[in-house]
């Protein structure tokens, strides 16, 4: 079990370093096992530096940088053993447009590599425009949800309307 965790750590760490670079367009990141020599007892520390900045603990990064780094970590674990479906609920909320752009490009690349079907819940107009299709959820009758197909052009109206 200890060896399996170390192997998993190895794989995930390599994925993480690569995915971070793709999401940040450079920079570097790595995982570290801390607080114990025994991997089954250790803690997971995340060190990262966006391009042009110093390597430091993730806790010193900005809100959006932390979210993008944590997303890279979740994807790193996912890519170690890709599931047939992946659902992301508003992970792009704190990201600016440039980061959302790279996030969506990475989603397309992962979808091609793994054949995983992705479901992305979002309020971000830019994310909507990068999807293959959109479903809208509405409550025309109060308290009752309905699912409808959405024209990619009508998307922004739906997200804004009541």
């Amino acid at each position: 079990a200890r060896q399996r965790l170390l192997d998993a750590f190895e794989t995930v760490n390599n994925n993480f370093a690569d995915l971070f670079k793709r999401l940040f367009n450079g920079g570097q990141a790595e995982l570290r096992l801390i607080e114990s020599d025994d991997p089954l007892e250790a803690g997971l520390e995340i060190m990262a530096s966006p391009p042009g900045k110093k390597l430091a603990s993730m806790s010193l990064m900005s809100g959006g940088e932390q979210a993008l780094t944590a997303t890279a970590l979740i994807f790193a674990v996912f890519m170690a053993n890709p599931a047939p479906v992946c659902v992301l609920d508003e992970v792009d909320a704190p990201l600016d447009d440039a980061n959302v752009e790279r996030f969506c490009r990475l989603l397309h690349e992962m979808a091609q590599e793994t054949e995983t079907r992705f479901v992305i819940i979002t309020h971000h107009a830019l994310t909507m425009s990068r999807m293959n299709r959109l479903f809208g959820v509405t409550m025309i009758e109060r308290g009752v949800s309905q699912l409808v197909s959405v024209d990619l052009n009508k998307a922004e109206q739906l997200a804004a309307a009541e």
């Binding site: 992946c86 609920d89 992970v91 979808a111 992705f118 819940i121 909507m128």
Partner: protein, 171 residues
């Protein structure tokens, strides 16, 4: 296996039978605050055997049954049916002869409490059987592939010890 459809009947705000198709590539889900988007993800995790009250909002399994509005009465049962395409025959042995797998979970409010009934291709099974089915596909209700709203923030503020558990999912 490929996930193809999630059907919700009386699950939270989806009181009317609703088919949520899961198609190839990237599908976006949009809509105003509170309209039901996260309820879709919860329905998927619920039918896959999610049991942790913390990860499913609500103080108990009953919280998933449509609670009624000023215009509609509450219900006393809820069901979610997940359809899988097994044409690549990658399902576990005992279900692998079928082209389609249908996993359903129904909860019924009775006087003595609520009861969840699980079925795979109409045959009643235990919660454990459903959880194991997805564990084989490395895609259980708690898999890293299903990222709940706020889970990214939780990961950022988590103690290093708790973060390590994420690795254990991959091991």
């Amino acid at each position: 296996v490929k996930f193809t459809n999630v059907r919700l009947v009386g699950f939270k705000s989806f009181v009317e039978p609703t088919d949520f198709e899961i198609r190839e590539g990237l599908t976006g889900i949009v809509g105003p605050n509170g309209c039901g988007k996260s309820n879709l993800l919860e329905a998927l995790r619920w039918v896959m055997g999610a049991t942790s009250a913390k990860a499913l909002r609500g103080d108990g399994m009953e919280a998933v049954i449509f609670a009624g509005t000023s215009m509609r009465p509450s219900r006393n049962w809820a069901e979610v049916i997940l359809s899988l395409d097994n044409s690549d025959r990658s399902a576990p042995a005992e279900y692998n002869e079928h082209d389609t797998l249908e996993i359903s979970r129904r909860i019924i409010r009775k006087e003595e409490g609520t009861q969840s009934v699980y079925r795979i291709n109409q045959k009643e099974v235990r919660a454990k059987d459903v959880q194991l089915l997805f564990a084989d596909a490395s895609s259980g209700a708690n898999s890293p592939a299903l990222v709940r709203q706020g889970q990214i923030s939780e990961l950022i503020s988590a103690k290093p010890q708790n973060r390590r558990r994420l690795l254990e999912e991959a091991a």
